[in-house]
């Protein structure tokens, strides 16, 4: 998974063609860290269809807020730089993420 920051967010997400998944997290967010191995597993499985990335919000808080993300964990799937679907803390799980990927990409 590619680690995003303030500098590369635009090129790797907003200007990227195709599907991009962003896993918003922070080092103090336990549910985020607990979920991460399962997301990495999905990256192995669907990496050819979706560009998997993660953003540590403590390093790019304004970028996250700019995407209207103010709660963790949040996972957003983008297509051609536009949000297709967002899974927030109340609904997100690895199973929900996989289901979302399959629904949008037809994988």
């Amino acid at each position: 998974m590619l680690e995003l920051n303030r500098e590369n967010f635009e090129t790797e997400v907003l200007k990227k063609e195709g599907y991009v998944l962003v896993d918003y997290w922070s080092p103090s967010c336990e549910p985020c860290k607990a979920m991460m191995p399962a997301i990495e597993e999905l990256a192995g499985k669907y990496g050819d269809k979706v560009h998997f990335t993660s953003l540590d919000i403590t390093k790019a808080r304004r970028v996250a807020i700019g995407q209207r993300v103010l709660g963790l964990p949040t996972i957003i799937l983008y297509k051609d730089g536009e949000k297709c679907e967002e899974l927030g803390a109340d609904v997100v799980s690895a199973a929900a993420v996989e289901e979302m990927i399959r629904r949008h990409t037809g994988a």
Partner: protein, 313 residues
Amino acid sequence: MEKLYDVIIIGGGPAGLTAALYAGRAKMKTLLFEGEAFGGQIALTTEVENYPGGALNITGPGLVARMAEQAEHFGVELKKENVTDVDFSSKDKKVTTSKGEYFAKSVIVATGANPRKLGVPGEDVLTGKGVSYCATCDGAFFEELPIYVIGGGDTAVEEAVFLAKFGRKVYIVHRRDELRAARSIQDKALNTPNIEVIWDSVVEEISGDGLVERLVLKNVKTGERTEILADEDDGTFGVFVLVGYIPANELLKDKIALDEQGYVPAGEDMKTNVPGVFVAGDLRAKKLRQVVTATSDGALAAIAAEAYVEHEY
């Protein structure tokens, strides 16, 4: 027949992990489902000052990580799978997860509790958009912004102190004229310069276009309403809802008896109304929900499950 466990434990907080430790030490074939979000409520809290023997600076996640390690040391299998269904109708109990089906002679349910919501307009739609139930998860978003903490118990006041490291100013909004939190926690809050308490007040409404921008408070004594708007420069502020918990009983409805509040009634033997099914931790109907009572429940439940498997199964 799939592999038959002596006991399956549902829940990876202090109650479940202690039950696992005791079951593991009793040489029971033990499987624990911690779910994807491991550690229970305590893994979301910053400090655990009231667990005896824990060092003063231990964090919630640190404590449960040690408990998990200790349980694994005694041969317990831990799986990060979310349990989606249970079937207690046969002698061998079935537990279904997102990945498969598992069978056991006995089950200990330790699914704990989830944060209680306020139930006011705007709360659901702005969750993750400025409304939060987890200070350690979301505190960092609100650096230099105002933060409103709703609640007056231990968790609310403790997390207000934590959030004061990020926020420009932290307001504790409490419906009474005194806090319920333990004295030592209150003193910490009152000695933090950027914390202020708004007494006798409840939230009536939260609103905003994609982000929290407005909060309406009502003074319960005078009936007066106060509208709080985000500064133009800030654009938003944080609302942390820490007003207690509701039992995580979704799996159990119509499977085992629950009380009026949705907790599982059980005495010191941790027995539910279904033979071979036991309860432990915050999910059990009881007076004090703390790590120390959760671990106590876990130990008792494991002993009771062991006796059941040996004599009644």
